[in-house]
Subunit: 328 residues, 2 copies
């Protein structure tokens, strides 16, 4: 870690340390290819399948790094977060592996399946009202009562160092199994945890690889921030890619503004089409948020044609009873 | 091949030859595991993922062996079959790779998506009425007009030798990546092509491995044949596992009666539940027919507990707009 004007920024040493630390708790997920999608896009696509990851998402990398990096003294009070998504699930999984408590504050309106999934990994769910004020109030109370360590879903250097292990693995797998490196990597952007980790890794060990972030048209705050040169946060955006609604924070903004080549967007219909196409042709279950990169590639073929492109499939936690193309 | 009382039976030499022949045209599909499903069943399950196979199913192994085994003289008239499922798709794929015609007779009532998929691989579709008489009439006419070589979906020694390459790969992958052999293999049974290939391979190179066939309760003709000691064919059975409705024929019956340990069945609801569970936990798209083995394992835990079990996931060609749990 290095301190830059009071901001604690993870470094390459933190990534190497994180990788050793999380290895026993995560899968080395496969890199898949599809001759059909290559022909369709004119690019060579290499899908890093974090939908096959423990707890069903890349988030387990950062969460495990935070949980297993705690001293025994710190760890005994457990960890806490507010999230109704993959970070909550991943933190509960990692805390369960270490045998420490994991407190999750979730709006009472969150789907029961998500609450049950967190509880299934041993997480302790506290329900708040669906407002920022209520969430902060409940979260402060949980922290005060338990002394648990707060692990933010993305604006945390330990989390970013953990997510950075994903592109490190991808580069190793490219050299070992796919005949060489990449011209570009593309990943979805919400709060920017995965993209920041990707920036940290690539800027260190493969600085010529371009980094693209993919975002829904309907929650394009990162793209607008990128063009404006400062963080713009949307108020309650609505998109099918529901993992990507959260705004950038100062730590992820630092990586995005320094290392990202471009942020490209796709419509909700394009995202749904790309999601369905991937399920149909690659036979894998992935989240709507994970389909945004392919949707962006299909919308901007000229950017990617002829290139070797790593595509991060961020997660596979889907409500199979409620698929987006069934509602259209 | 050996001639036993007029029946041409494939031998181990045919499997080795088939494997060399089909290798350039198929994927060496991965073997996946799930700690969740292991805990749930008490067994160690190794899923051979033919849903990731070319054309989306194991059938491409047998179809490619038939197509690429033809002499140039024979090949020029192309191949023909009657099927509205994965065999038609696979034969069209293989014929396309060799650049020869593939004629498929399909009932006009078959889903448009299936006709389109065959045409997408360059297959020539002839529509018949949805009756056996009409199908045979149209098929005879196509054969007469084209001189195409008939490749039966399963009752063909070339096809069985091709399917046998799947369990050969599985055993190799077990030794290489999963620390040793298997106690049992389980695969779905419809006409018995996959099971016959599995019997041929295992009885030759791993004769101690038990072979289980998995069948829907509602199309349990193979299970009843097995107990009766002769082929029983059902008239138009109805089951969600629609790839498994066809009856055994003399060549597959030969392998089933000689080498299969048992044929176990599961209800349609159990099949749907196993299918959904696999999608949810393993994040892979597989057909309802491919879920029958897991459904059978969950119904008969005492048979499989504590065992190392290879599970053949036969295919991943699913109508994503019409999932079976959406209709229940």
């Amino acid at each position: 870690m290095k301190d830059v004007n009071g901001m604690i920024i993870p470094t390459w040493d933190d990534v190497i340390e994180a990788h050793d630390r999380v290895c026993p708790h995560i899968h080395r997920t496969p890199v898949l290819t599809s001759s059909y999608l290559n022909a369709l896009t004119g690019a060579q696509l290499f899908f890093k399948c974090e939908n096959f990851q423990k707890a069903g998402a890349f988030k387990v990398r950062g969460a495990s790094n935070a949980v297993f990096g705690l001293s025994d003294e710190m760890a005994k009070n457990g960890v806490a977060t507010h999230s109704s998504g993959n970070h909550a699930l991943s933190l509960a999984y990692a805390a369960g592996r270490r045998g420490i408590p994991c407190h999750v504050v979730m709006p009472r309106t969150a789907p029961q399946a998500k609450k049950d999934a967190v509880k299934g990994y041993g997480g302790i769910v506290t329900e708040c009202e669906p407002s920022t004020t209520s969430r902060e109030e409940y979260f402060a109370r949980v922290q005060e009562e338990t002394g648990a360590d707060f692990v933010h879903p993305y604006n945390d250097p330990r989390v970013i160092a953990g997510q950075a292990t994903c592109s490190r693995e991808l580069l190793e797998q490219m050299e070992q199994d796919h005949g060489g490196g990449l011209d570009a990597v593309i990943a979805p952007i919400g709060g920017g945890g995965m993209i920041s980790g990707t920036c940290l890794t690539l800027s260190t060990i493969a600085p010529d690889v371009r980094i693209y972030a993919a975002e829904p048209d309907q929650a394009d705050d990162a793209a607008r921030s990128f063009r404006a040169g400062h963080i713009i946060a949307d108020d309650a955006p609505e998109t099918v890619a529901d993992g990507l609604k959260v705004p950038l924070k100062e730590l992820t903004w630092h990586f995005v503004k320094t290392h990202v080549t471009d942020i490209l967007t796709a419509s909700d219909q394009e995202i749904i089409d790309a999601m369905r196409l991937t399920w149909q042709r690659m036979k894998i279950v992935m989240e709507s948020s994970s389909a945004v990169p392919l949707a962006v590639i299909l919308r901007n073929p000229e950017v990617f044609a002829g290139k070797r492109v790593g595509v991060v499939i961020t997660g596979g936690n889907v409500d199979l009873g409620k698929l987006p193309w069934m509602q259209h």
